[in-house]
C-alpha cells in the first residue's frame, strides 16, 4: 500500500480565514457593551467573594460565611465565564468540511485478502503449535475460575438453621446483665442476647457475651401473671409470668423488629411496616412478612435468671433457598 492508494478519497479543504468584518464573527449579544458591563460586574463580584472567603478562613469566621462566600465566588466566576462564551463570542454558524470516511471498494477487497492470507493460510501451516496454544489458554481459563468460585465463600452448611440459643442459655441485656423475674413490669420491652456463647468460625474459637447479630431477641412482659392462653397451640409454658421472647430479625428482609406498641401488643417492623401481634404468636397481621417471628421458649434456672428452655424451633430471619423449617 502506498500513499497513492489513498489519494482519490482525500479532498483538501482550504482553512477559512477569520475576518472581524465577517458577520459570522460578530458578537452573539444584541447589546455587546451592556453584556460586557454585566459580565465585568459578575466577575468583580467573584473577586470580592473570594476575598471574603479568604478573610473568613484567615479570621476563623462562621463556616456559613466561608462556605457561602466560596460557593458564591465560584458561581460568579463560572457564570461570568459562561456568559462571556455565550454572549460575547462569535455566533457562527461555522462549517468544517472533511473528506469521506469510507474507503473505496478496492481498498476493502485488498484488506480482506490480506487478512485471509495472514491468518488462515499462514497459521494453519503450524497445526501443532496452534493446538498447544489453545490447550494452554483453555487450561488457564479453567484455573482462573477457581478463585472466582472460592470468593463466594464457604458453604453455609446448617449455619442459617441454628442460632446461639441453646437449652439453658441465659438471657442478658446489652451490658451482659442477666434478667430476673422482676426486671420488667407488664408493658415493658428490652432486647436480650444469649450469654457467653462459644463461636467457632474458620477453626477459631471465640467467646462472645452477646452472640451474633441474628441472635438478638426482644423480651416483652405482657402481664404480671401467666398468660390466659399460650401464644400458639403447642406452646404451653413458653411464657412464664407473662414474659414472651421473639426473634428481633424480621422474617421479611431481616430488619430489627423493635417498635413495640404496648396497648395494641403489636411489634412493628420499621422497614416495611409488618405488624406482629405478640400475644398471638407474632403472626403477621399486616405487611409483607411471610411468617411469624420465631418464638423462644422461656424458663428460669436455679439462680432465678431467665433462660431459654429450648433453642428456636426454626431458622431465624428471612427465607433462603434451602430453608426447611
Amino acid at each position: 500500500m502506498s500513499d497513492a492508494d489513498h489519494q482519490p478519497s482525500r479532498t483538501r479543504v482550504p482553512m477559512p480565514i477569520a475576518a472581524l468584518s465577517d458577520p459570522h464573527m460578530s458578537d452573539a449579544a444584541r447589546h455587546p457593551k451592556r453584556a460586557e458591563g454585566v459580565i465585568a460586574i459578575v466577575l468583580f463580584a467573584s473577586m470580592v467573594l473570594f476575598a471574603i472567603a479568604g478573610a473568613a478562613y484567615w479570621q476563623n469566621w462562621s463556616p456559613w460565611v466561608f462556605g457561602g462566600a466560596l460557593g458564591g465566588g465560584m458561581f460568579a466566576l463560572g457564570f461570568g465565564l459562561t456568559a462571556w462564551g455565550k454572549y460575547l463570542m462569535p455566533q457562527g454558524p461555522f462549517v468544517e468540511e472533511r473528506h469521506t470516511l469510507a474507503g473505496t471498494d478496492e481498498e476493502r477487497d485488498a484488506l480482506s485478502a490480506a487478512l485471509y492470507e495472514r491468518t488462515t493460510v499462514v497459521v494453519k501451516r503450524r497445526k501443532l503449535l496452534g493446538g498447544m496454544f489453545a490447550g494452554g489458554a483453555g487450561l488457564f481459563g479453567i484455573v482462573a475460575l477457581f478463585p472466582l468460585i472460592r470468593s463466594l465463600g464457604p458453604l453455609p452448611k446448617n449455619e442459617l438453621d441454628v442460632s446461639n440459643w441453646k437449652a439453658g442459655t441465659v438471657l442478658v441485656d446489652s451490658n451482659g446483665r442477666p434478667i430476673r423475674r422482676e426486671t420488667l413490669q407488664a408493658g415493658g420491652i428490652m432486647t436480650v442476647y444469649p450469654r457467653n456463647q462459644k463461636i467457632v468460625k474458620d477453626g477459631e474459637v471465640t467467646f462472645t457475651q452477646q452472640g451474633l447479630a441474628t441472635d438478638q431477641t426482644v423480651l416483652i412482659r405482657l402481664s404480671d401473671g401467666p398468660l390466659p392462653q399460650p401464644t400458639m397451640p403447642g406452646r404451653e409454658g413458653w411464657a412464664p409470668d407473662g414474659y414472651v421472647a421473639y426473634s428481633k430479625v424480621c422474617t421479611h428482609l431481616g430488619c430489627p423488629v423493635g417498635l413495640y406498641e404496648r396497648e395494641l401488643e403489636v411489634l412493628v417492623c420499621p422497614c416495611h411496616q409488618s405488624m406482629f401481634n405478640v400475644r398471638d404468636g407474632a403472626v403477621p397481621q399486616f405487611g409483607p412478612a411471610p411468617r411469624p417471628l420465631p418464638q423462644l421458649p422461656l424458663g428460669y434456672n436455679d439462680q432465678g435468671y431467665l433462660i431459654a428452655t429450648a433453642p428456636y424451633d426454626q431458622a431465624l430471619g428471612p427465607a433462603f433457598f434451602e430453608r426447611t423449617t
Binding site: 454572549y87 430489627p256 406498641e261
Partner: protein, 329 residues
C-alpha cells in the same frame, strides 16, 4: 489570653451557678417539706428502709402491685432516700432522680378540678366509664385509680388531657389548658384514692452523662422516636411523637419512660434511675438543641427528605443551568 478568660469564667459562670444552686436548694425545701424534715431528723415517722415489707409498713397503703422491685429503678423499694410521714409515702429516689408525691394540701383543690375537667369521662371517683352498645363495651375514660401520680401529671402537664376529641386514636400533645400546679393538684387527688407509684419525678440533670444517654437512647428509644427524635408513624393510626419539641420538659421525659403512656412501653427494671437521668439529659440537651454542622437538618427525618431536596433543587438547578448554556442566544 488565659487570665481574662478565667476571670470571665468566674464572673459569668461560677457566680450564677452558685446562686442557682442556692435557689434550687431553697425550692427543693419548699417542694418537699418532708425532705428537709427527714434530713434534719425531726420527723417522728421518717425512716429509711431497704426492705419491701418495711416500706409498705412505714408508708401505709401504697399500692405496689406489679411494680418492678429492681433497686433504684423508679420504685420505693431499696430506695436510697425514702421518706414516709404519717403513714404516707412522701418521696423516694436517689442522687439521679427524686420521686415525690404532691403534698396532701393539694388534694382538695385537685378534687374540684377533677370534677370540672375530668369526671365526665373518667367518672366521679376516677374509676373510668364504659359505654355499653348492645353486647360490646367500649371504654370512654380508663380507670385512673392506682396508676400513680406521675402518670396523671404526665397526661395533664403535656396538654394531652383534658382530651378534645374522646374518639381520637391518640390524645396528641397540645398547649396546656391547666397549669403545672393544677396538674399536680389533680395528681394528688387521684393518687389519694389508691396511693401508688411512681410518684412525680424530679431528675437531677447536673451529674448526667449525655454521651451515655445518647447510647441508651439509640438502644431503647430510637426504634420508635427515630435517632433524631423527630417521631414516626406506627401501627393503626398511632405515632411516636416528636421529642425535638422544646416544650418537652425533663420531668415529662422521665414520666413517659417510667409510666409508659398509651402505646409506649414501660421501662422499669432494665433502666436504672441514673440511666433514665442520662437519657433525659440527652433528650432535653443535644437532641432538642442540635448543632447541625452540615447546615439545614430538613426536619431530621432521614434520607428521603434529603434525597428529595438533592434531586429537586440540585439536579433541577443543574438542568436549568445546562439549558441556559446550551440555548442559542
Amino acid at each position: 489570653m488565659r487570665a481574662p478568660l478565667k476571670g470571665k469564667f468566674r464572673t459569668q459562670f461560677l457566680l450564677p451557678a452558685g446562686l442557682l444552686s442556692v435557689a434550687a436548694m431553697a425550692s427543693l425545701a419548699v417542694f418537699f417539706p418532708g425532705a428537709g424534715a427527714g434530713a434534719s431528723g425531726h420527723a417522728d415517722a421518717s425512716q429509711v428502709s431497704t426492705n419491701a415489707k418495711d416500706v409498705l409498713k412505714a408508708c401505709g397503703t401504697v399500692n405496689t402491685k406489679g411494680v418492678s422491685p429492681t433497686p433504684n429503678s423508679g420504685n420505693p423499694f431499696t430506695s436510697t432516700n425514702l421518706i414516709c410521714h404519717g403513714g404516707n409515702l412522701i418521696a423516694y429516689g436517689n442522687h439521679a432522680i427524686t420521686y415525690a408525691n404532691p403534698p396532701a394540701s393539694y388534694i382538695a383543690a385537685g378534687r374540684d378540678l377533677f370534677a370540672t375537667t375530668c369526671s365526665s369521662c373518667h367518672g366521679n371517683t376516677a374509676n373510668g366509664t364504659m359505654i355499653v352498645n348492645g353486647k360490646t363495651e367500649a371504654t370512654i375514660g380508663p380507670n385512673l385509680q392506682g396508676v400513680g401520680a406521675a402518670t396523671v401529671d404526665f397526661w395533664v402537664s403535656s396538654g394531652r388531657m383534658p382530651a378534645t376529641d374522646v374518639k381520637a386514636v391518640e390524645a396528641e400533645r397540645r398547649p396546656t389548658r391547666l397549669t403545672p400546679q393544677q396538674a399536680l393538684e389533680i395528681a394528688a387527688w387521684v393518687n389519694s384514692l389508691d396511693p401508688a407509684v411512681p410518684a412525680v419525678p424530679y431528675p437531677h440533670l447536673n451529674g448526667a452523662n449525655q454521651s451515655v444517654g445518647a447510647d441508651l437512647f439509640s438502644l431503647n428509644c430510637a426504634a420508635c422516636h427515630t435517632i433524631t427524635g423527630s417521631g414516626d408513624a406506627l401501627a393503626y393510626g398511632t405515632n411516636a411523637p416528636s421529642l425535638q419539641n422544646k416544650q418537652v420538659t425533663s420531668q415529662q421525659v422521665v414520666e413517659a419512660i417510667r409510666t409508659g403512656p398509651a402505646n409506649m412501653p414501660r421501662f422499669s427494671g432494665n433502666l436504672s434511675d441514673a440511666q433514665v437521668r442520662d437519657i433525659t439529659s440527652y433528650v432535653t440537651g443535644r437532641l432538642q438543641h442540635p448543632t447541625n454542622p452540615g447546615g439545614f437538618d430538613l426536619g431530621g427525618v432521614g434520607p428521603v427528605a434529603e434525597g428529595f431536596v438533592a434531586l429537586l433543587i440540585g439536579v433541577g438547578g443543574l438542568a436549568l443551568v445546562a439549558f441556559w448554556i446550551g440555548d442559542r442566544s
